[in-house]
């Protein structure tokens, strides 16, 4: 199937987000098609996380439209959006440090039935055997890499159709970064659409189909990830060449 035939699963149309008087997102539009990996790259403070938070309902855009799975979701609360299959694995992992690994996964499946949770839990333990070993451990005692895996597994417990990952490689050793990106590819292979925000632009562009480049609240460039990887401006600004 060619790219243009795939169904649009998420479309963000000209959203503006404010933090008090600060105009953080100034008219961002982007779209994600079914079965794609789309990445959003940019410097610190460009508004990448804010964009994701607005999509998931943690922040309310002052204007603009967000349509997911043919339904208007801008203005809806996260507790209404998550059960629709749109999940965010937030920046800095944000696992529940004082809950056990198992309880964290339980919470990931909060909107689903008990039997569905059990089924997904088994899946997660199969995919992440380390989490199975640490099932009863308090999550705050896990290592950084394990915490990132827990955060991703927790988001997957909701069985998302579209998974948004915010800086999954942040603060991890290179070998763990490789591992996280392997998992992202695997997830994509199993039919999850992914919107990935990353500072590690090289890694992000190498796994993504398409990419958006963001600068101070606006999208400045967009295109095929492979093309952006070789674009001079992108190389200079984000790839350190």
């Amino acid at each position: 199937m060619t790219e243009s035939q795939r169904r649009i699963i998420l479309s963000v149309e000209d959203i503006h987000v404010f933090y008090g008087a600060i105009h953080a997102i100034k008219g961002v539009s982007l779209e994600v098609r079914e079965d794609e990996i789309v990445t959003l790259i940019g410097a610190n403070g460009a508004g990448k996380s804010t964009t994701l938070n607005a999509i998931t309902g943690l922040l309310k855009p002052r204007s603009g439209k967000i349509v997911y799975d043919d339904k208007l979701i801008s203005g809806k609360k996260a507790s209404k959006i998550v059960p629709m299959g749109l999940c965010l694995c937030p920046e800095g992992r944000r696992i529940f440090q004082q809950l056990t690994v198992r309880e964290n996964l339980d919470m990931g499946g909060y909107t689903r039935s008990r039997s569905e949770i059990r089924e997904s839990m088994d899946e997660m333990f199969e995919r992440f055997p380390r989490l199975k070993e640490r099932e009863k451990q308090i999550a705050g005692t896990l290592s950084g890499g394990e915490q990132q895996m827990l955060a991703m597994a927790r988001a997957l417990m909701a069985r998302p159709k579209l998974l948004m990952l915010d800086e999954p490689s942040m603060g991890l050793a290179p070998i763990l970064v490789e591992q996280i990106f392997d998992i992202i590819k695997e997830l994509h292979g199993s039919g999850v659409t992914i919107l990935l925000v990353e500072q590690n632009a090289r890694m992000a562009l190498s796994v993504a189909d398409r990419a958006y480049v963001m600068e101070t609240g606006v999208i400045t460039m967009t295109g095929k990830a492979s093309a952006l990887l070789h674009n001079d401006a992108v190389q200079k600004a984000y790839l350190g060449n």
Binding site: T56, G57, L58, K77, A78, S79, V82, P83, C87, L88, P90, G92, R94, I95, F96, Q97, Q98, L99, E103, D106, M107, G108, Y110, T111, R154, A155, A158
Partner: protein, 325 residues
Amino acid sequence: MDIMSVIINGLSIGSIYAIIALGYTMVYGIAKMLNFAHGDVIMVGAYTFFAAAHARNLNGPAGPLIAVLIAIVLCALLGMAIEFLAYRSLRQAPSLAVLITAIGVSYLLQNVMQTVMSLDGVDRFFKNVLGVVISENNDKPIFGADTKMITDLVNMQSLDIHLSETLTIPGLAIVTIAVNLVIVVLLSLFVNYTKMGKAMRSVSEDRSAAQLMGININRTITVTFAIGSALAAIAGILYCAFPHELVPTTGSIPGIKAFIAAVIGGIGSIPGALIGGLLLGFVEQLSRSVLPVTELTDAVVYSVLIIVLLFRPTGLLGKKIREKV
């Protein structure tokens, strides 16, 4: 001084403080606010019990128990209403605004109760509108602005245990301590093992991450208020049975003491509320029996708070506040 009676009294008044402190600590842990109107919910609970127990329809042997249930349900609804009307719109407001609002709600409850009790024709309202006759057996009206006592409504002398000629464990003390233990055990099970309990702990730790799980924050906070206020009703009845006089300001003192108990134990911690409450009750009873002037008792109680906070600023079982990276 009789050490056994100090222990028994300390444990029972301490249990009451603990039950109230649980409400403070849960609301603080999950909604991150100090609900200073909590003490006044205690008073509403005691008044509700007082009125319900005088309802002629509840004259049977199960009457007082049904009156307790009515008080519990009414206070749970009151707690939910307070949260919805007064606090919900202040979720993002600075904590000082929330605190002042809570104090306002506290005065509101006291004054409304004062007004309701001194209104003419409250008993006629119950009789004509709700079809409930509320009066003493000799038809003497029970409403009015005077001080009420509920001691004859909660007579538990049949449960007294006589250990020796001089030492009796009052039935009320046994019931109070038992109720407290049952509440703490049930609450711990609820918070640790149910879906709602886990959601509460998640909200307590990281509200926006909890939202990302699809947890409805408002509903979680509403349930917290309902539980805390239901516990306040139970505590109010036990407190007035102890006995204490029932007036519209009855809730203030136990409210403040229980707040101190929650802080001593480590606010936000359920076992902390239990330990803080029992410790405070014990210290209070001990100083009352040792000190030459009973007026000094409260000074001793408040000193315990200062001493504990000097050495453990987050309370006995409080969590260390972790710096965010």
